[in-house]
């Protein structure tokens, strides 16, 4: 397990600058809260909704580029020459992505607690919402990672958008069951439809399904990646 944690920590370290800029977004949101929030709390809520959508997009971004960046730079050779399997490597990357997006969701949660809590936003539900959001981010990441093992980053991102988007589209048109297929939309929907009046709810079953699918997609990614030749760039 230690090599996996080392890869995860290394990934988070490598992504410290993207994470810094993501956190600037949250800081910007907090600044909105400092500038006379009483006048227009809906602005703060709108940014909260936007950030929820963006965080899932960041999940796609990190998932699509993680494996490819290591292969393109040839750094993957030194890592996989050690006594670690491809499945451990993918798990390390996924945990690294989880760590980066976890920090983002955590900061977002704290800011929302401070900024929206004073307008009656239900804090308990908010934090469960943050867990749901983190699950949605990791789910898109693991799905994108599995596509990125055999597709270039852009195509992996498009494939993820398509696969996660179809159930979302069906759910949007009223098909309740499709929410559970790849529940990215199901997990994020309550956050993007959140109101200051606490009337929104997130189904715990969706979070559970999300985690099962994260593990499933990690297994798929590992299976595909371990059967493929490492496509490192020529010297």
């Amino acid at each position: 397990m230690r090599p996996v944690l080392l890869i995860a920590r290394n990934f988070a370290r490598e992504q410290r600058w993207p994470l810094f800029f993501l956190l600037l977004w949250v800081v910007g949101w907090a600044v909105v809260g400092l500038i006379d929030p009483e006048r227009n709390p809906d602005d703060a809520l709108m940014i909260f909704r936007q950030l929820a959508v963006y965080s899932v997009t960041f999940g796609v971004f990190f998932g699509s580029s993680a494996v490819q960046a290591d292969q393109r730079s040839r750094r993957v050779l030194a890592v996989l020459s050690k006594g670690i399997s491809r499945a451990q490597y993918i798990l390390g990357l996924l945990m690294g992505i989880g760590f980066v997006l976890g920090i983002f969701c955590l900061c977002m949660g704290f800011t929302a607690t401070w900024l929206l809590g004073r307008f009656g936003f239900q804090i308990g539900t908010l934090w469960f919402g943050m867990l749901a959001l983190w699950t949605a981010c990791l789910l898109t990441s693991s799905l994108t990672l599995s596509f990125s093992t055999f597709l270039p980053p852009l195509f992996a991102a498009i494939a993820t958008g398509t696969l996660a988007g179809i159930p979302a589209l069906l759910a949007f048109r009223g098909d309740a069951i499709s929410k559970f297929l790849i529940p990215v939309y199901g997990l994020v929907e309550p956050l993007i439809a959140a109101e200051l009046v606490p009337k929104w709810q997130i189904r715990p079953s969706l979070v559970l399904i999300g985690w099962v699918e994260i593990i499933l997609f990690w297994m798929v990614a590992s299976w595909i990646f371990s059967r493929r030749d490492l496509a490192v760039t020529a010297e």
Partner: protein, 311 residues
């Protein structure tokens, strides 16, 4: 007997996305590398050297055939903990040198005091301990290559697989790496060395394999390979230069070459002329010459040179 590396009839084909275009990198490739020696792996660009190495490391799978590394199938995860690998044009994460080596040591399963000790020893082995606080992003190409060597050494491997380990190094660093490789051999480690620098291979390797167009065209010990079969050099003194054909004066001595068949007659002629034989030795050609002969012959579609002793 457990070999450090065994390739058995391996063929590797690269296919395009559609599967229509195929490039055969290795063709029925067989090779064995005994433990405890420095094995030179030579070949022109595109001969399939890196493919063979990447197959052994489990980075890719053979299209046909199989192979073993330290007695286990290629790609076996735990076996890789006993192996050190340096890729050609090595790329490492941009961390501080000491931290980077500890990271790669950690991936090899080292931890705690053992990891610290191993990282220190690895940096010392490549003379980089003074740079341990500097970030790899600030390093020159040669320094990164030395760091690559350090990460390959950090787990005290039984087998070192090095793909062009000295290509970016200055002459002093090359000498240091050469000494390091010899030290590794003396410690009982096996070194599988792929290099274009034939003079270096000639200096350190016990055995050599020459690869061309995905096939082994010659393997054997260096002494077997460099010795020609048909000529000897005779050094004599006390005779005039005119008494031999195509001889040269070397101080007071006369140096000339003859075929092995004519060796006895030539020696008797020197004695008959009142001269003295100083030495008789087989003519050795350089590895470079042999390399060019073999790779050109094969590229021109001529008959391949006969294989030297294959173990």
């Amino acid at each position: 007997m457990v070999f450090a590396l065994e390739y058995e009839g391996i063929t590797k084909e690269y296919r395009s996305w559609s599967g229509r275009r195929r490039i055969r990198a290795l063709q029925n490739f067989s090779l064995t590398v005994e433990c405890g020696q420095i094995f030179g792996f030579l070949g022109p660009n595109g001969a399939g050297k890196s493919t063979a190495i990447h197959l052994a490391m489990g980075f890719m799978r053979p299209s046909a055939g199989n192979g073993r590394m330290l007695g286990m199938s290629f790609g076996h995860v735990r076996t890789r903990r006993r192996v050190g690998f340096l890729a050609e044009n090595v790329a490492l994460y941009h961390r501080r040198a000491g931290s980077a080596i500890r990271f790669y040591g950690g991936l090899s399963g080292l931890r705690g005091g053992a990891l610290e000790k191993a990282a220190h020893a690895a940096l010392e082995a490549v003379d980089m301990q003074a740079e341990s606080a500097r970030n790899l992003a600030q390093f020159s190409r040669g320094m990164v290559q030395r760091m690559g060597l350090a990460q390959a050494l950090v787990n005290d491997p039984e087998l070192l697989i090095l793909d062009e380990p000295t290509s970016a190094l200055d002459p002093a660093a090359r000498v240091a790496v050469r000494e390091l490789l010899l030290r590794c051999r003396n410690q009982g480690k096996t070194v599988f060395l792929s290099s274009h620098l034939l003079s270096e291979v000639e200096l350190v390797c016990d055995r050599v394999a020459i690869l061309n167009r995905g096939e082994v065209v010659r393997t054997g010990t260096l002494s077997d390979m460099l010795e020609t079969t048909d000529r000897v050099e005779i050094v004599a003194q006390g005779i005039p230069l005119s008494s031999v054909t195509e001889g040269i004066m070397d101080g007071s001595r006369v140096r000339f070459t003859v075929t092995k068949g004519g060796q006895r007659t030539s020696i008797e002629r020197v004695w008959a002329a009142g001269g003295e034989i100083i030495s008789v030795s087989p003519v050795r050609r350089s590895l470079e010459l042999l390399f060019l002969e073999l790779t050109r012959a094969n590229s021109n579609g001529e008959n391949r040179a006969p294989e030297a002793s294959e173990t």
